[in-house]
């Protein structure tokens, strides 16, 4: 009995001493982005037993993958509400994984939105409304992800793609591409930011777009698309003739080329 009490005393003393150490190690690992923050209670409540097991069991990644596979099954059944629900769990379980935010948004803004847009069984007005709602949902998912990962160039790029291709909000697309480039995105995001600004209805955005394109032109990085948009902006912004570029406008090879991202 005496030995057991001694053992309990050692455990307790060690327990008290280890708490600050554990707190420090956890803080360090969270700073290194290796260990996740605890889950929100609301999510655990929604997911029931399996969610609790995931929250406490250190198997968040595994459970997220299983939910992702279930979402994929629902995707093949075109059950968009379920896809959204499962991806909600996936993104909550793995909030620092940009890929999950991207996929969740892609399913909503592209797959679900297109499904409703081309669904002949629905009234045209409703089709348009559902398309709009799902594009908005996709955009909301990306924005939610960007609140947690504001430095992620890929999420900014996908937001730019979404605004360009789906909601046709070129000012927002330009801002998103520009943010992507500012956070280390690929070079084309800088160019696409300018293209998007050029197509917006906002003169202030045209000025931003013109500045970017002129800089790239001066750096000898001109492409046919860049020259086309630059000439368009020179016209819209009434740039004096002597400051305009000397290149001829490129000849389009196809009736309606779509400069910018393709999905």
């Amino acid at each position: 009995m005496k030995r057991k009490l001694q053992a309990a005393a050692v455990l307790l003393v060690f327990g008290v001493l280890k708490l600050p150490l554990e707190q420090r190690v956890t803080h360090d690992l969270r700073t290194m982005r290796l260990v996740d923050e605890p889950l929100h209670l609301g999510v655990k409540g929604n997911m029931g037993q399996i969610g609790l097991a995931a929250a406490f069991g250190g198997l968040r990644g595994l459970i997220a993958t299983i939910f992702q596979l279930r979402a994929h099954v629902e995707f093949t059944r075109v059950n968009w509400a379920q896809v959204d629900k499962y991806y909600g769990f996936v993104t909550q379980l793995q909030p620092r994984n940009a890929r999950y935010w991207e996929e969740a948004s892609w399913h909503m803004a592209y797959n679900a939105a297109s499904y409703y847009l081309y669904n002949q069984e629905l009234k045209p007005g409703l089709r348009g409304q559902l398309f709009h709602d799902y594009v908005k949902r996709g955009s909301d998912i990306l924005n939610e992800g960007l609140q947690l990962l504001p430095d992620n160039p890929r999420l900014w790029q996908k937001l730019g793609d979404l605004h360009w291709n789906r909601s046709k909000d070129f000012k927002a697309a330009g801002d998103a591409y520009w943010n992507s480039f500012q956070h280390g995105g690929l070079n084309f995001t800088e160019r696409f930011a300018a293209y998007a600004y050029a197509q917006s209805n906002d003169p202030a955005s045209w000025t931003k777009g013109y500045a970017i394109l002129k800089k790239l032109y001066n750096e000898k990085k001109a492409t046919p698309g860049l020259i086309e948009f630059l000439k368009m902006l020179e016209q819209n912004l009434h740039i004096p003739a002597d400051q305009r570029i000397s290149d001829a406008a490129p000849v389009r090879k196809t009736p309606d080329p779509q400069a910018g991202p393709q999905r």
Partner: protein, 307 residues
């Protein structure tokens, strides 16, 4: 009359010192004992499962496939190592008692600490061997899959006339980040550290309890609580929250259980995060601390336990 007589020398037994050689012999014997429990076919089955998983996922993009493969296989590996560590440790002492092996060993000049340490090392050696084998298989599959997926992705880009150097470079970077890197081995190391801590807790409980089932159930409970340790600790350290009784219970849980979430780098590795040396040192250091203290407490309990 300064020399002790033969009879008195026989009565005062010289203390037996700690012997690494003896501990190694016990550890090796424990490993052999566990190997006889048909662990190898299970490992083989696991390798086949991993291989099937590697090529069985639906592909939306290569990055997704590689990440899913890593998450699934490392997750299963984690479950395997913890379950194996708990169950085998919980079975060891009762089995030795049942077979009377324990009495045979302890009737010889073998200190009880050597026995406990030998048993623990035997289990840990077997877990480590299993993890090394599976890590090798996992690495091989990941490397093959990585090459195949990159080639397929580039071919797809070529078909779509999107194979600009910039896009191909981005694809290469994505596939390389999700493919075989040193981080995968650090994740396996973290899994081993977690399994080692859980195994030591199981050994401690096994020395206290008389029932195998009790040891297994309580160790699983501690494992689950250990994963939520950060939440409990942060609750305890909050100055203005809740009643005294709840705080005392939380404090006891936080003090007794190890924080196992500190070893949960698997998800981050599957997401392509880099594990710095600092993180490896911290994880290894805290695991070593847990092992030392829990082993010491085990010794304190076991040294005078009536068998």
């Amino acid at each position: 009359m300064s020399e002790a007589s033969p009879s008195s020398a026989a009565v005062s037994v010289a203390p037996v010192r700690f012997s690494p050689q003896r501990v190694w012999t016990l550890a090796y014997a424990t490993m052999t004992q566990l190997m006889r429990m048909k662990i190898l076919p299970f490992l083989l089955l696991f390798c086949v499962l991993v291989a099937a998983m590697g090529f069985g996922f639906s592909v939306i993009n290569p990055e997704q496939q590689l990440s899913q493969f890593k998450t699934m296989s490392l997750g299963v590996l984690q479950i395997f190592s913890i379950v194996f560590g708990i169950v085998s440790t919980a079975l060891l002492l009762p089995k030795d008692l049942e077979d009377r092996t324990l009495y045979t060993i302890l009737s010889k000049p073998v200190p009880r600490f050597d026995y406990v340490l030998g048993k623990l090392l035997g289990v840990l050696m077997l877990i480590a061997s299993g993890l090394v084998i599976i890590d090798a298989v996992l690495s091989l599959i990941l490397w093959v899959q990585q090459s195949m997926l990159f080639d397929a992705a580039v071919a797809q880009l070529h078909t779509e006339k999107q194979d600009t150097p910039e896009v191909v470079a981005q694809m290469r970077e994505i596939v390389a980040r999700q493919g075989l890197t040193w981080n995968l081995h650090w994740a396996v190391w973290a899994i081993f550290l977690k399994a080692a801590v859980v195994t030591t807790v199981a050994l401690l409980l096994s020395c206290i309890a008389s029932s195998t089932l009790f040891t297994i159930v309580i160790t699983f409970c501690i494992t689950i609580i250990g994963h939520g340790h950060a939440m409990i600790r942060e609750f305890v350290l909050q100055p203005n929250l809740s009643g005294t009784s709840l705080r005392i219970v939380s404090f006891l849980l936080a003090a007794i259980c190890p924080d196992l979430a500190q070893f949960d780098v698997v998800d981050s590795v599957a997401n392509g995060e880099i594990v710095p040396w600092g993180a490896v040192y911290e994880m290894t250091g805290i695991a070593a601390l847990y092992l030392t203290v829990y082993l010491f407490v085990t010794h304190v309990v076991f040294v005078e336990k009536e068998l």
